[in-house]
Amino acid sequence: MESLYLLIPIALLFCVITIKLLLWAINSGQYDDLDKEAWRILADDDPAPQKPAERADGKDPNA
């Protein structure tokens, strides 16, 4: 049972870390829009990877 003296402080440490993380997430605006994020998983075709190439050669792939 002596292990409690070690394990409980560790649990408290995790608790503090979790709260810190959550506060950081809230402060950085990740929870500002709870409606959209629920749907994000359904959205496909992330266009982001296309763009660097497009910008690098300065050409329009659609042209």
């Binding site: 049972m1 409690l4 003296y5 409980i8 402080p9 649990a11 408290l12 608790c15 979790t18 709260i19 959550l22 506060l23 809230i26 402060n27 929870y31 500002d32 829009d33 709870l34 409606d35 959209k36 629920a38 749907w39 994000r40 359904l42 959205a43 075709d45 266009p47 982001a48 296309q50 763009k51 497009e54 910008r55 329009d60 792939p61 659609n62 042209a63």
Partner: protein, 791 residues
């Protein structure tokens, strides 16, 4: 695939535009004349005012790497798919660094490279997708809401994690009590629970203390007072118990109680805040850019710079930007903003046109009579605010009983303390505490909001947004149900109802001829022919005669379509149209009348059934309030079995009618759709905006039907009634529980941990009972379940 605009990629278009119009500080110049008004360069030109650095600075910032970060408000966003589309399309444009849409606020944050793109490109692209972009005004209120939201979320997060942690220690403690635990470990568990609970009490529960104290200073007892007392006393007693190694600790109850109360309030607040974002001002309906005459040229300037006496150009299809007197041109304006009717009013030189109405027939030059503040639209907007301010609000039952309840609890607790001090001073504190804990009004405080939140969520699933949850309580008590006509009971669009051929043509041939002609018009009548255009032959030299109709040539034969006088000029034999309340349009060719085409605005498919159900099943008194001054309104009212206090009513008349009813003790529910209904919707006890309602009407209604027809009215009424029943059950349970538990606790028969458990279970029961409302589509058994109580 990258999106294409007509005429190539965005950047090409921009270049072309730069050659076409050379901007001088956001202002473009065009030659003056009304006959040859420059080809309206589409919505793009209107957006070029946002390239003006001064104007752009109000909603965007530009950093030293030429990146512009702009914040726009997007009209027309309704769901997550919209945000996906906007983000996808914008991010695929060359030069856009980042685009994020916030659905809750209908807000777009976009960053782009100013060397590649200009602000108007972004606006134009959004516009071409079918959304209405506008600068996001940094309102103090909006900022405040956002800050408050994050603050609530932080408190909730801390309370939630604290609850889990303290809960784990508490389970160990409770298990230890049953199985036997060495006191040193019990002491350890108490000591580690204390700092965690302290953080939750001092940070998360602070709002309960401050609210209770604020009201107490003004001599008011509110629900937060016993909440604060219970949290405060239980916490202090637990500290005492921890230090002295005696009694019982309540850290878990304190923290759990705080978390559940905060959660309930957070969910309630969020549902309330959603869609109340006041991003829609009436002013937003007006165009942002206006053509103003400056000497020999037309300049495009931001509308806010308009001054009295400026000559403005109002093109066909544009919204009138300001109240103005026409100096040149003939046209017709759709004034459905003011009277809800879709047939335009013909206007000519000397007539006044009003801001917010739509110019449908010809280009106009007009002199501004003042700024936005002087317009009829602004006056309408102000009466919306007045209506909202007058709206009667039922005080929540829980709030009403709170004061008595609080006084009762405090009395019971003090009596218990006094009595136990006589019997056994050692136990006095613990017994008093268990009275306070067990009587903690958690369940009572949750009873109403939990049921309302659950009902609102059920309605959202059916396609009804609930803006004012209070309305859910009020709805079952309504005695009068008032309908607007155009757009609410009817579809609000003209349809072809009847064709009377006058020559040997078939109905299909007539419609095809009519459609070929009307293809060239933008009048509301033309839209009724839209579906018949498939195999219609074309006409040459189609021209529009303002206020009369269309004339055209096919080969050597001339055709006309429009008013009776206009058609009789070439076909004198044209007979009179049938005498009914339809709108009759004549079609003829030289010397030969071809047909009369009757148009009307059909009822919504379910209007008859819904109206009948409201009257018969729910026993509501029905009235029709319409701005339509034709004979159709009384006939329609009679056919549907509704009363009609008058027709051709202005918004002021409608408000007066609602006030009169409310004055006589009635509770009024209003169903409407238009800008003109907004003040009435704000004034009525309960209000609905139907699908397709204008934005202003939506912001004023308690219930917004987003999906489906009038049937949703019935659904909402049913849910509201179930909600009312659940609230009563909840309150009944909470009061019964408290009244029975307090005497037992006062007698010292309840161990403190049972008190804590009982409190949590009673709250849980209330929440579970409320969640029953959310079970989808369970039909309610029984006959007429709607009883109108006038109490």
């Amino acid at each position: 695939m990258l999106p294409r605009l007509p005429g190539g990629r965005l950047t090409d278009q921009r270049k072309r535009f730069k050659q076409f119009l050379s901007p001088s500080h956001g202002v473009q110049q065009r030659p003056v004349s009304l006959d040859d008004v420059p080809e309206n360069a589409g919505p793009r030109a209107a957006f070029r005012i946002y390239d003006d650095p001064e104007l752009a600075a109000t909603f965007s910032t530009r950093d030293d790497q030429d990146l512009v970060h702009a914040r726009l408000l997007i009209g027309g966003i309704s769901c997550a798919a919209c945000t996906w589309l906007i983000e996808q399309v914008l991010q695929s444009i060359q030069g856009v660094i980042d685009a994020r849409v916030n659905l809750q606020q209908a807000r777009l944050d976009v960053s782009f490279d100013a060397r590649i793109l200009s602000m108007s490109d972004i606006f134009a692209r959004l516009d071409s997708l079918g959304y209405r972009p506008r600068p996001f005004a940094q309102q103090a209120r909006r900022e405040h809401l956002q800050a408050e939201y994050r603050d609530d979320l932080r408190r909730l997060a801390v309370a939630g994690i604290g609850m889990m942690q303290v809960g784990m220690f508490a389970i160990a403690l409770h298990a230890g009590e049953i199985q036997g635990m060495e006191p040193q470990y019990a002491g350890l568990l108490r000591w580690v629970s204390l700092p965690v609970a302290a953080v939750v009490v001092l940070y998360s529960a602070r709002s309960f203390f401050s609210t209770a104290w604020r009201h107490l200073r003004h001599g008011k007892l509110v629900m937060d007072l016993p909440v604060a007392l219970a949290i405060g006393l239980a916490f202090i007693a637990s500290i005492w118990a921890t230090i002295t190694q005696s009694g019982q600790v309540y850290f878990d109850s304190v923290v759990m109680f705080t978390f559940f109360l905060l959660l309930g309030r957070f969910l309630e607040k969020r549902a309330r805040r959603k869609h109340t974002e006041a991003w829609l001002d009436a002013e937003d309906e007006l165009p942002g850019a206006v053509s103003v005459r400056n000497g020999e040229h037309w300049e495009t300037v931001p509308r806010i710079r308009l001054r009295q006496g400026d000559t403005v150009l109002i093109r066909i299809g544009e919204t009138v930007p300001v109240d103005a007197r026409i100096v040149l041109g003939q046209s017709a304006v759709r004034e459905d903003s003011f009277n809800g009717e879709h047939l335009p009013r013909s206007v000519g030189e000397g007539d006044t046109v009003y801001a917010g109405t739509l110019n449908v027939e010809g280009n106009l030059q007009a002199i501004a009579l003042g700024t936005y503040r002087d317009t009829r639209l602004a006056a309408l907007r102000r009466s919306v605010d007045i209506g909202g301010g007058e709206k009667p609000r039922l005080a929540r039952f829980a709030d009403a009983v709170a004061a008595w309840f609080v006084a009762g609890i405090l009395l019971a607790a003090s009596v218990t303390a006094l009595v136990w001090l006589q019997i056994d001073p050692e136990r006095a504190l613990w017994v008093t505490l268990s009275v306070l804990v067990i009587s903690c009004p958690c369940a009572l405080a949750l009873a109403t909001p939990a049921a309302l939140a659950s009902a609102a969520s059920a309605l959202r699933g059916m396609g009804v947004l609930v803006r004012g949850e209070d309305a859910l309580e009020t709805l079952p008590r309504c005695t009068h149900l008032l309908f607007d006509k155009t757009g609410t009971l009817t579809l609000g669009q003209l349809r072809i109802a009847q064709v009377l051929p006058l020559a040997r043509h078939s109905e299909a041939q007539i419609l095809s001829l009519g459609a070929a002609l009307q293809r060239h018009a933008s009048h509301p009548v033309a839209s009724a022919f839209g579906e018949y255009t498939r195999d219609s032959e074309g006409f040459d030299a189609v021209s529009y005669v303002v206020g009369a109709g269309l004339m055209a040539q096919r080969g050597a034969v001339s055709y006309r379509m429009g008013s009776i006088a206009f058609c009789r000029e070439i076909a004198p034999a044209l007979p009179d149209p049938p005498d009914d309340d339809r709108l009759w349009v004549a079609l003829c060719r030289e010397g030969e009348p071809l047909a009369w085409i009757g148009l009307d605005d059909p009822l919504r498919g379910d209007a008859g059934a819904v109206v009948a159900a409201m009257r018969d099943t729910f026993g509501l008194h029905l009235e029709l309030l319409t701005g339509d001054s034709s004979a159709r309104a009384p006939r329609l009212a009679a056919a549907l079995g509704m009363d009609i206090p008058g027709h051709g009513l202005s918004p002021e008349d409608k408000m007066a009618r609602v006030r009169a009813l409310q004055h006589s003790g009635a509770r009024v529910c209003m169903v409407g759709d238009g800008l003109n209904d907004a003040p009435v919707l704000a004034l009525a006890d309960v209000s609905f905006a139907v699908a397709g309602a204008t934005d202003l009407a939506r912001t004023q209604a308690d219930f917004v039907i987003t999906d489906g027809g009038l049937q949703r009215l019935l659904d909402t009424c049913r849910v509201a009634q179930r909600c009312r029943r659940v609230v009563r059950q909840n309150l009944g349970w909470a009061l019964t529980y408290n009244l029975t538990a307090i005497p037992i606790a006062a007698a010292g028969l309840i161990p403190p941990w049972v008190a804590a458990l009982g409190m949590s279970l009673s709250s849980l029961l209330v929440v579970m009972n409320s969640l029953r409302l959310n079970s989808p589509g369970r039909p309610i058994a029984g006959g007429p379940m709607w009883k109108v109580s006038t109490s």
